[in-house]
Amino acid sequence: MSFLSKLQNIDRRVIYVIVLLALAIPLINPLGIPLSISPLTEDVYNLVESLQPGDVVLMSLDYSPGGSPDVHPQAVAVAEHLYKKGVKMAMVSFWDAGPMYGEQILKKYEEQGLVYGTDVVNLGFVSGGETAIRQFGFDVPGTVKVDFRGKNTAGMPIMEGIKDARDFALVIDFVSGNPGINEWVRQVQGPLGIKLAAGAVTVNVPQTMPFVQSGQVLGLLQGLRGAAEYEILIGVPGTAAAGMDAQSLGHMAIIAFILVGNIAFLLDKKVK
């Protein structure tokens, strides 16, 4: 076996170890590479910035453990911004794991004095996918009569004046697949014309772009990097920002793999 074909057939475990090191070392010893802010992230930031204290924002938490590392930090960062602005947060989920992530976020703000039912509420999980999103969008109190914690939503101060999705000052869908932003756009944004923004798992970003370009989605956080940019915008760097150096080295490693693999492939073809 020639050197070139040996190089092409290197043990995959060697590659795994290189990737692990490229990610772990900068996590432990950050390099401090500067991060520029994408206009799409700024759009979301400005939407939140334009809200008034007392407005109610709906966060639709539509992700699972599989996508959570890419999306949950976005929800955490946006919630922090909403908290600072004095905006009220309602949460709902069309994925069954969603409410648990909602509880993780709410716990922190309840400890800081926000009152459940007045400033924040977790409306829980609604089964039924696309149909559920439509039903919720058209009739919020009728669809979630009881919240995640088993309390009646009727009479909660935060739910006062909320009839359909148009009564939220902004709806942000944090999403790692279907049902998610597609369904929100076609079942609620289209017919009702709500203000809709999204935080998407990186993999879904390209598919969401036509909605952004056509103005159906007003702002988009793009995966973990979107969360990191948001953390920097609100001046509270968190786990997402801490991971960006590792993202840099990880990308470099993958690009190097593609280059070396292809150089060996092309040279090998020439030799043959």
Binding site: P69, D96, E183, T202, V203, H251
Partner: protein, 201 residues
């Protein structure tokens, strides 16, 4: 180093390392944790949905007398008829209900938001390179997926332009997937290195 003293954290760190070990070699510990994950996710979903049934159907029936909700409960129970050969056909009534609602709903949503809205957004003046790429990119890809016509001459060239645009589209997806996958690994590493070993500041 500031190792966690929380037994839950120890358990989850051990579980994650066990799952990662699959990449290096398939092994019994991986298989045990894989089955634990599959079982727990399925069990979790059952708990969530029983809660939904109780809150949305059973309580309204018992406490508010909304007896009409017995119909969806029957439809729901009928889904399980498929596990009994003699009455398996009954489960089709429930499927027909779910699929009918889904189709009716999606026709409207798809035509409105993914068809007309996107056509409208493509009706842009041909006054810049970007706009020309956008309009002719969309047109030539639609042409590429035209099946009842042989692709010859000008049509062939135009459709092949469409295929090239798609290749760039797929390249963009590829690049995004890389970032997404690294994010997932970072999340796990932050839990292991930070949450468990206390190595991260």
């Amino acid at each position: 180093m500031n190792i966690s003293s929380n037994p839950w954290v120890w358990f989850s760190a051990f579980g994650m390392i066990a799952i990662f070990s699959f990449a290096f070699k398939e092994n019994p510990i991986y298989r045990a944790f894989e089955h634990l994950y599959v079982g727990s996710a399925a069990g979790y979903a059952i708990g969530v949905n029983i809660d939904n049934i109780v809150k949305r159907a059973i309580r309204p029936i018992l406490q508010e007398g909304e007896f009409v909700l017995i119909i969806p409960i029957i439809l729901g129970v009928l889904l399980y008829a498929r596990f009994f050969k003699s009455i398996a056909w009954l489960s089709r009534w429930s499927m027909a209900f779910l699929v009918g609602i889904g189709s009716g709903l999606s026709i409207y949503g798809v035509v409105n938001s993914q068809f007309l809205a996107q056509i409208r957004a493509t009706m842009i003046p041909l006054n810049s390179v970007n706009n020309v790429v956008m309009v002719f990119g969309v047109l030539s890809i639609l042409l590429y997926f035209f099946f009842s016509m042989e692709q010859k001459g000008a049509i062939k060239h135009s459709a092949s332009f469409g295929r090239w645009i798609m290749m760039v589209t797929f390249g963009v997806s590829f690049g995004n997937v890389v970032m997404g996958r690294i994010s997932l690994m970072l999340g796990a590493l932050q839990d292991i290195l930070g949450g468990w070993l206390g190595l991260l500041g």
